[in-house]
């Protein structure tokens, strides 16, 4: 797997307004060659508008979009060497699977034999060969999704854009397709830019991800980086599960809330919010560990259990993740004591 650091796609100060609404606000991003890049954010964050600007369906209000160093902003969609896989799949209903795949190559005016060979290859790679002569409405959701992907891949675009590609599939199929997509991206050696609102999906698939909110870019980084070191409270909350405790940081850098004191890193004096992941809280019998609380709920997830513990420090119960095998003797209503791992605490001020 060759993964260089040269940006294939450079987004330079791109902005877009629709009337009074700023959909995308001065976003700058570099997307590297052969990487699987995720644009992540809640609905209405501007990720789809950004994707449509990359594909050429919206003109940027400000800024430039460079592909391989060339400004593609003035080009219409049909002249851009990148392809979009639509959320609705947008398969041509009057064409068979083979005709859908051939369409894009016919537009390049390739010889018939070449078209046939490339379509056959792509159908083989996406397990569509048995469905070549079917019409889209004779396909299941998963099959349609593969046709949409194959129709874009067969063009061998420099960058493949995917708009919520797994949104319409059920959970099981979605998890399988996440790995499938990653495999195909590796095999095809194409840069993938995927838009999703599903943080788990982004964590599983992406090499790097960008988190957007209200049109602004909040953070860019590898999944581990964003998960471990969220740049803002919003990111911390959006990615994975996070406990928040409001309190104060003293002059000594010690964070304090009621019944709780932690020497967290990087604390400046003043009001602060401490953030900690459920897996970074240890548990013990009442009195053993510094923070005491009462279990108000236990959620069993198969591999692990999540205890919801009410403490004096936080309004909402803290979530604590423990391996499922070990904790069968905890019951709702039991008193418990907790310890927050200081190295894993983050402060937002």
């Amino acid at each position: 797997m060759t993964r260089s650091n040269t940006p294939i796609l450079r987004i330079e100060g791109v902005g877009k307004r629709f009337g009074p609404v700023t959909a995308v606000d001065n976003v700058s991003l570099d997307i590297r060659e052969n990487e699987f890049f995720a644009l992540l954010g809640p609905s209405g964050c501007g990720k789809t508008t950004l994707l449509r600007m990359l594909a050429g369906f919206e003109a940027p209000g400000t800024g430039r979009i460079l592909l391989d160093g060339k400004d593609i902003s003035p080009l219409p969609p049909e002249k851009r060497p990148l392809n979009l896989m639509f959320q609705s799949y947008a398969l041509f209903p009057h064409m068979t699977v083979r005709q859908n795949l051939s369409y894009g190559l016919e537009m390049e005016r390739l010889p018939k034999a070449d078209i046939r060979r490339r379509v056959d290859d792509t159908m083989g790679m996406t397990d569509l060969t048995p469905f070549a002569e079917r019409k889209p409405e004779q396909l299941s959701g998963g099959q349609k999704q593969r046709v949409a992907l194959a129709r874009a891949l067969v063009k061998r675009p420099k960058v493949l854009l995917l708009d919520e590609p797994l949104g319409a599939l059920d959970k099981k199929l979605r998890e399988r397709m996440q790995l499938e997509l990653k495999r195909m991206q590796n095999e095809a050696g194409i840069t993938f830019v995927i838009v999703t609102h599903d943080q788990e999906e982004a964590l599983v698939m992406a090499d790097r991800m960008a988190i957007l909110k209200d049109g602004r870019l909040l953070q860019v980084g590898a999944p581990e980086e964003v998960y471990e070191h969220p740049a803002e409270r919003f990111v911390a909350n959006f990615i994975g599960v996070m406990n928040f405790i409001d309190g104060k940081t003293g002059a000594d850098g010690v964070f304090a809330a009621e019944g709780l004191q932690v020497k967290a890193q990087g604390g400046k004096p003043g009001t602060a919010t401490l953030a900690i992941r459920p897996e970074n809280i240890a548990i013990g019998p009442p009195g053993d560990l510094p923070v005491s609380g009462i279990i108000v709920d236990i959620a069993y997830h198969g591999l692990d259990r999540v205890l919801h513990v009410r403490t004096a420090a936080a309004e909402t119960p803290l979530q604590v993740r423990i391996p499922a095998s070990g904790a069968s003797n905890w019951k709702t209503g039991d008193p418990i004591s907790l310890r927050l791992d200081p190295a894993k605490c983050r402060l937002f001020q």
Partner: protein, 288 residues
């Protein structure tokens, strides 16, 4: 289960009864005249004969039939060429203004057919608005004879049936997922190829529905050719009219009517098949 089966039948019953009583039965009655002889002083003499159908095939009448078909076809093509861009523009307008635009497109339809057609006489005659306008613009030659020409008849037919075609095409266009056109552009097709390979094929059912409508109503029309053709351009409709009301030859009129109806039914069946085909073989099985 019998409940589910009987309810649709019950719901359809009034409509079906109405059609049978006031459409099917009268039609069959009139058509049955086609198999009898004409009475000496008009009326019908109940002696079986196929002579009336033989007369329909007579070169004189066949020519009128073909001529009507040609005029109707021209009107159909012109109407589609005008209606498609209009329907396309309406379907691309902001969603809020689409009903208003459609209302204006259909507006002429709410006035009386005769009045609408008479309006064209005012426009087209030698002292009419168009000739007057040309004169004010500096045209000094002989006034144009536009009225009582075949073009006048075609103009009248197109004008009268255009709203139907716009509506029919608009309904297929507005149901089209705009992402299909975007997908086509994304795959490398410019606007023209996108139209020819995606938009047009997927809206053909609307074009066919509107087209058959204009054709069927035009070929049997007798008001427009009578008013705008000045009686000089006889169409089948006028011929049927004459047989029933002037020549008092009901059996021959009925035979001509039968020929018209058969033509229409064949066209409607073809259109229904084309629509079913274009909307996809949705009976096809789904693989899981």
């Amino acid at each position: 289960m019998s409940f589910n089966a009987t309810r649709p039948t019950l719901l359809a019953a009034p409509g079906v009864a109405w059609l049978v009583a006031f459409m099917v039965v009268p039609c069959l009655l009139v058509l049955s005249y086609a198999f009898f002889q004409r009475g000496v002083w008009g009326g019908v003499e109940y002696t079986f004969t196929l002579e009336n159908f033989a007369r329909v095939a007579d070169p004189l009448y066949a020519k009128i039939f073909l001529n009507s078909a040609r005029i109707a076809l021209t009107a159909t093509v012109v109407a589609i060429l005008i209606a498609y861009p209009a329907a396309y523009a309406i379907s691309r307008a902001p969603r809020m203004s689409q009903p208003i635009l459609l209302f204006f497109a259909v507006l002429p339809f709410w006035s009386n057919y005769l009045i609408r057609t008479y309006a064209w006489i005012v426009l087209l005659n030698r002292e009419g608005l168009i000739n007057n306008l040309l004169r004010t613009l500096g045209y000094t030659g002989e006034p144009l004879s536009m009225l009582y020409t075949e073009s006048a008849v075609i103009t009248g037919l197109v004008y009268n049936y255009l709203p139907f075609v716009i509506l029919a095409i608009y309904s297929t266009l507005s149901r089209l997922n705009p992402e299909l056109m975007e997908a086509s552009r994304d795959l490398g097709a410019g606007p023209v190829r996108t139209f020819l390979r995606v938009t047009l094929p997927l809206t053909l059912p609307g074009v066919a529905a509107g087209g058959v409508f204009v054709f069927v109503l035009s070929i049997g029309n007798f008001v427009t050719p009578a008013l705008l053709g000045g009686g000089r351009f006889q169409m089948v409709g006028n011929l049927v009219y004459d047989q029933f009301l002037t020549a008092n030859d009901w059996p021959f009129g009925a035979a001509l009517g039968a020929a018209l109806i058969v033509t229409m039914i064949v066209l409607l069946l073809l259109q229904a098949r084309a629509t079913a085909h274009a909307s996809g073989e949705r009976k096809g099985e789904v693989e899981r």
